[in-house]
Symmetry: C2
Subunit: 208 residues, 2 copies
DNA sequence: CTCTCATTCAAACCACCGTTTGAACTATAG
DNA sequence: CTATAGTTCAAACGGTGGTTTGAATGAGAG
C-alpha cells in the first residue's frame, strides 16, 4: 500500500507525536497509539521500555532539527559580530515554525506536539522539553543580554520566557478558536507577525 | 481544629482547584481529590454529578471574580471616553494577576488552576475556559480595535491572543524553572513587567 | 538445513479509573 | 417521637490503564 519502509519503531514515534500532541500525555493511551500504528501493545515496551520513554524518544527526535538549526543560525550570526535583537528573535522563532513550513501536514503535527509537551501539566514532562532546549537557551540569553546591554538580566530572562511561551502556544495552537471559525493561519505570515510582536516588546517593553 | 464552616462541597472545590492545577484534569483522579478533601468518593457525584461537572464548577467559581472585575474596569474606562491601549491591557491583566495578590497562598493556587485549564490538551476543557472568558472577550476586542484604529482586525485579534496566552502562562507558571532555582516573582512586579511588555508589543509590533 | 537472535503476537496481570448502589447517619419539621 | 429530606459511607461495578509473559514468527549466518 504505502511506504513499507516504515519500521514499527518509526510508526510508533509518528503516531505518538500525533496523539500526544492532540490529547496530551495522560490523555493518550498506549493502546490508542499501538492500534493506530498497527502494532502490538507490547511493541512499545519492547522498542522503548515504557510509555514515558516513548515520549522521551519522540521529544528528542522532534526537537533535534530545531536545535540544530538554532545552533547553526546562532553560529552564523555571532561570526558576523554582535547580532541585533531582531536577528536573535528570528533565529529562535523561525526554526520553531519552519517545522510547519518544511514538511506538509506532518509539520503541523510535529509543531503541535512540541508545543504541547512544553505546556504539559506534569513537571516531569515539561522537563523533557527543557532538557532538550537547555543547551541553546544559555547561548540565546547571553546573546540577547549583549544586544540589550541597557536591560537588566531579569528583564532579558523575562523576555526570553515570553518568547518561549508564545512560540509554544502558536506551535500547539493551544488557544486557537474552534476549527472552522477561523482559517488556519499561514505559517510564514504567523512567523513574521510573531517576530514583529516580540521585537517591539523587547525593544520598547523591557525595564532597564 | 480549623474552620469547621467549610462544607464538603467547598472542600472539594478547593482541593480540585489545587490538584487540577498541579496535575491537569486527566492527571488527577477523583480519589486523590476526595482523600485530600477528607470526603467520600461518592461525594463528587452527589454534589456535582461527575468529574467534569466538578471541574466546570471550579472553573466558574474561579473565573467569576476575574470577569466581574474586568467588566467593572471596562465600564469605568468606557464611561470616560476612548481608553488607551495601556488602560485596556491593564484592565485585562491586573484582574488576572490580582487573584494572586489578594489572597495569600490560595491566590497562587487559583491562578495556576485558571492558567492550566486555559492550556489543557483537551479541547472540551479549554472550551470551559473560553466559555467563561467569552462574554468579556468581545468587548475587549472591540475596545482594542478602537484604540488601535490603524491596525488590521486580524492584528488586533493576534495581539489579544498573545495577551491571553502570556497571562495564562504566567498564571500557571507553566514554563517556570524548577523551584528553588529562582525565587518566585513578586506578583505586583510581574503584572507591571507583563503590562509594559504587552503595551510595547501592541503599540509598535502590530501590522497595520 | 539448522541454529540464533531480533521481532511480533495473544493473552493475561494487577492496579486504578469514574461511577453507582443501597444502607446508615444527621438534623430539621410536624 | 416520628417522618422526611439531605448527606455520608463502604462496597462494589465494569472498564481501561501500563506493563509483563512466553510462545510463535521471521530472516540471516554458519
Amino acid at each position: 500500500m504505502e511506504a513499507p519502509a516504515e519500521s514499527t519503531r518509526e510508526r510508533l514515534l509518528n503516531i505518538a507525536e500525533q496523539r500526544f500532541g492532540e490529547g496530551g500525555y495522560e490523555g493518550t493511551s498506549l493502546r490508542a497509539i499501538t492500534v493506530a500504528a498497527a502494532a502490538n501493545i507490547a511493541a512499545v515496551n519492547y522498542h522503548f521500555g515504557s510509555k514515558e520513554a516513548l515520549l522521551r524518544a519522540a521529544v528528542t527526535r522532534a526537537m533535534a532539527p530545531v536545535n540544530i538549526e538554532r545552533r547553526r543560525r546562532l553560529d552564523q550570526l555571532e561570526a558576523k559580530g554582535q547580532p541585533t535583537v531582531e536577528q536573535l528573535i528570528r533565529a529562535f522563532i523561525e526554526p520553531g515554525l519552519d517545522v510547519i513550513l518544511r514538511r506538509g501536514e506532518r509539520g503541523r503535527v510535529v509543531a503541535r506536539f512540541i508545543g504541547r509537551v512544553a505546556f504539559d501539566p506534569s513537571r516531569r514532562i515539561r522537563e523533557l522539553y527543557s532538557a532538550e532546549a537547555d543547551p541553546v537557551e544559555a547561548r540565546y540569553l547571553a546573546a540577547l543580554q549583549a544586544a540589550l546591554s541597557q536591560a537588566a538580566p531579569d528583564s532579558v530572562a523575562f523576555g526570553y520566557l515570553n518568547m518561549l511561551g508564545l512560540l509554544a502556544m502558536h506551535q500547539s495552537q493551544a488557544l486557537s478558536r474552534a476549527p472552522g471559525t477561523e482559517e488556519v493561519e499561514d505559517p510564514g505570515r504567523l512567523a513574521e507577525n510573531l517576530i514583529a510582536f516580540l521585537v517591539a516588546a523587547f525593544d520598547h517593553g523591557l525595564r532597564s
